[in-house]
Amino acid sequence: MLRRDFVKTLSGAGAAAVGASLAGPAEAQWIKRRPKVEIGEVARVRVDVLTETSWFDNTRLKQNIVAYGGAGTNQYSIPWDWDNAGGYSALITVTTLEGETRKILLDTGWNTEWMDYIYRRNGVDRMLAEGEIDFLVISHWHLDHAWGLASALKHNPDIKIIAPGTLYPEDRTLLGGGRLTARSHDGDDVVICQNDHPHTGPLVLTEEAGENDSGIYRPMPGMAIRLFDVPILLRVRGENVLYFNVKDHGIVTVTGCCHPGLLNLFAYARRNFEDARPYGCYGGLHLTVFESWDPRFDDIIRGIEYFGIEKIACNHCTGWLFAEKAAAAGLPIVRGTDAFRDYPKVSTVAGSSNVFLTNGDAVTFG
């Protein structure tokens, strides 16, 4: 029995007809509907994985979280293991229809020592200093995506930043230059993040309404940024998602953690963008992040098949488990290389199947 049949069965069960008349049609007019927007096109998008290893030992990270209150606790109240901290950051290179290249930095990682190393290794420090990077997008205010701000701002404090407007006072402190501490169970105040390079450039704090109530921000033709104001673990709210419309291919999403849900992003694009066709994705998908399965992840694998996504480049909080199971189910997972093994630190859950696009890898859409 399919879902529609089930709904029909319900409607046939006595008073359901009354219910239907009370509730109105399924596509009622309560949803705020905006006219579809044309976001333009780009020729190509390349994503270089600067670092996707936000932490190196899952067990230690979980111990930190559980010891200080679990998933709902405030991330600024946990004295995290500094040695276990890494970071998430990606360099996006967009080729416009005119053949120009534009560079965007997505997120700034967590541990500033790790991030300094990562930016130096990939030449991002020079790109920042010489103004080659157009702007920095903070996907969301999780520690592993934003607490490494100093590593980027020290090279260019004037860079334009586009960040979720759902920030807390602590996030503002970090952005404006400051140091934050958390108290350990031993009573010690531990420095958990620090930024000695206050941001002095333009700051765009995104809202769900977007520019001119369009729902999105359009920093360049063929690109859109949308803030999905969703509740996230560790008291964080809202994630910026980057959309690119690649000519002759379709929509590509680039995410930090994809907390709103991968298919939700494509569903949004279909509802709100002109001629939106799912094409590919890059980033964390926040599924089996702690190597635990749930039947609803099976639903996502089925859903990706239905949506017809052609290129899935995932890493970070996706969880190796999901990537391996998705690959086994025949989904178009972009394989990584062994480049990550050349880095001084490797995640303890790194598998041998290369289903992750990990540190040192790259993917091109278009």
Binding site: L10, A28, I31, G261, F290, P295
Partner: protein
């Protein structure tokens, strides 16, 4: 011992005068405020993410609360207060003893029966220690405890459904003529057996698929997958909670009707069957209404959708809303003597149902408002995968039921005079 379905303490102390009615409402509000305060205190100490024990991981805390509710329902509805009801104790002492026994039972059931017993000798997933001992992907304490807690929550849900339907449907039948001890043991055995069967059908396939690789030789691929657009047992949980809501409304709010007439005409068995089928129909209808309402608010969900777009969330949310309705119904009954006591049954039922739904809507808005962030420490917004309103709803319900069932509604009962004939 007081049973909620047998009496009807009204808001009116001695007569229909306005001042007396206002006094009843004032006492009810004070009672409600006290219960809410106790709930918040327990929440902060046991569950709040930045509280004392921070058990809201979320599933571990959920399992403790769900088990406490199951124990309260068992002690009051299946065991009928036995053996405590026979003890010549003042209500505060009896209430304290029963509360202590219930809390001890929660610890014994979760850490003893499930973690130390069943999980070690029968079904691995009931014990985090057994899961870790078996090893495999993700087999460490946090994950293992979440999995075991999920299984326990589902077993509690199955027990609550069977216990409440049995209690409201057939009551003491067919053991109504035997000594209370025999009756309690017989009802217990029957309800536990049926709960086990319901758990196996509705929830076991989900728990068996919480592992990698899926334990498909132990549990079938969720049979409801095509039917519901999701492999998650939130589908069954949502349906069953809506059914329980229908049972509670009939028993508490509609004074046992319309199923009571079947008892008078065909006996307890007939009432039991009609209670089950009728409540299932009402529950499914309610689910259908909510489904349509959610579609109108958030578009239609789709396979693989997450958060608001996820079918699994829609079912869970239907269950969460049913939880608000159930709590609202108990608050009206316990704190406000079930609201209006005059007029025809149909009118009373209509007004009470309207009040209960209004209360449920108020709870919904509170839970998803910034106020709940201050009070409960949750992130603002709907459909967080790490949060369900069921935990605080069920905790509040536990506190309400402890006052009503263990403490004989005291001290509120002492402040009002029960009105006969309701």
């Amino acid at each position: 011992m007081t049973t909620l379905v047998d009496d009807g303490a009204g808001p009116v102390a001695g007569g229909p005068h306005t001042t007396a009615q206002l006094r009843g409402v004032a006492i009810g509000l004070a009672n409600l405020a006290a219960l809410a305060g106790i709930t918040w205190l327990v929440w902060y100490v046991l569950l709040h993410p930045n509280g004392v024990l921070a058990f809201y991981t979320p599933m571990y805390g959920f399992s403790l609360v769900a088990t406490l509710l199951a124990v309260i329902v068992f002690m009051s509805r299946i065991a009928e207060g036995w053996p405590f009801s026979a003890w010549p104790l003042a209500w505060p002492i009896r209430g304290a003893v029963m509360t202590a026994v219930a809390l001890g039972a929660v610890y014994g059931l979760v850490h003893g029966l499930f973690w130390g017993g069943l999980g070690r000798v029968a079904v691995t997933y009931f014990s985090p220690y057994a899961i870790i001992a078996e090893g495999g992907v993700g087999a460490e304490f946090f994950n293992a405890r979440e999995i075991a807690s999920t299984a326990i929550v589902y077993f509690d849900a199955a027990f609550l459904v069977v216990a409440l339907v049995w209690s409201a449907g057939v009551g003491r039948w067919p053991w109504h003529r035997v000594p209370v001890g025999v009756r309690v043991w017989s009802k217990t055995a029957t309800v536990v057996l049926l709960s086990g069967l319901l758990f196996l059908v509705a929830f076991h396939p989900h728990v068996a698929h919480l592992f990698y690789p899926a334990q498909s030789m132990a549990g079938v691929t969720p049979w409801w997958r095509e039917l519901s657009m999701t492999s998650s047992a939130f589908f069954n949980l949502g349906v069953l909670l809506c059914v329980v809501m229908a049972v509670v409304l009939s028993e508490l709010t509609w004074e046992g009707e319309p199923w009571g007439r079947f008892d008078r005409q065909g006996g307890a068995a007939a009432k039991g069957v009609t209670t089950l089928l009728g409540s299932a129909l009402i529950g499914l209808w309610f689910l259908y209404l909510l489904w349509q309402l959610m579609n109108a608010l958030w578009y239609e969900p789709f396979v693989g959708g997450q958060r608001l777009d996820g079918p699994h969330f829609r079912y869970l949310h239907a269950g969460e809303v049913a939880g608000f309705v159930i709590l609202s119904a108990y608050i009206l009954k316990v704190c406000f003597g079930n609201g209006p006591g005059r007029g025809s049954l149909a009118m009373r039922a209509l007004v009470r149902t309207a009040l209960i739904l209004a209360g449920a809507v108020a709870m919904w808005f509170f839970y998803y408002s910034p106020l709940a962030t201050l009070a409960l420490g949750k992130v603002p917004g709907i459909a967080s995968p790490d949060d369900t309103s069921l935990v605080v709803t069920l905790l509040f319900l536990c506190v309400v039921l402890i006052q009503a069932e263990f403490f004989g509604r005291g001290p509120r009962a002492a402040a009002t005079v029960d009105r006969p004939g309701r």
